[in-house]
Symmetry: C2
Subunit: 127 residues, 2 copies
């Protein structure tokens, strides 16, 4: 039986993912957690992410053309907004896609799920 241990590294990694305003990339996690744990290895970040996903503490968020990002589980069905200026990714809690599960589209495609990313400027970058 495999026991999961509480280490400074994993605590810092999970804490940073939880406190972020949106999903974080591996590099962002490494950078943020590395401020608390100097010398934190990148391999440790990858291994912690893998373990946290298996424990269902975090989920992967895939955006078009970008590295995988990670956020805590339980945020429910939501989409993301990507600022074209500062390149930050934010969570949105609305869903403007009018296609219920089970809809059949022209061409015979039966829809089960969807992924939407909006692009533009966040309020900080508009000024």
């Amino acid at each position: 039986m495999k026991t999961v241990r509480n280490t400074r590294q994993r605590n810092a990694i999970l804490k940073n993912i939880r406190e972020a305003e949106g999903p974080l990339s591996v590099a962002e996690i490494h950078e943020r957690a590395g401020r608390e744990i100097p010398g934190l290895g990148i391999a440790t970040v990858y291994r912690a992410i893998k373990a946290l996903r298996e424990d269902e503490e975090i989920v992967v968020v895939e955006l078009p053309g970008e590295e995988p990002r990670y956020e805590p589980v339980g945020r429910g069905h939501h989409h993301h907004f990507r600022c074209l200026s500062c390149r930050q990714t934010f969570d949105l809690d609305m869903c403007p896609v009018g296609i219920p599960q089970g809809t059949t589209l022209p061409g015979g495609y039966v829809v089960e799920d969807h992924s939407l990313t909006l692009y533009g400027r966040c309020s900080d970058c508009l000024n």
Copy 2:
């Protein structure tokens, strides 16, 4: 002045992208064009894609969590359907996203563009 040449390799690559039912990945392009040009190098495919993008013959299509794919220019604003069974990607000509350019969302995000991918089963895989 740089002249673009007509070579068997590039012709085969562009032809296969044009004749596909949806956007193709590098591996798919290499595999299909390689049937016409045995020994076709993967570097040639990458370089042809780069040149075709610069000539605006093709555009890149990014889907969440997948390799970049390529399709001919001029297909206009559209989205993609990804079959969860056969893993093929198809073009859709409808847009069920009710957010015009310039809309400001709660949180102060101003939307300029969006990317939508639908997931489900294509008609071939439903039977």
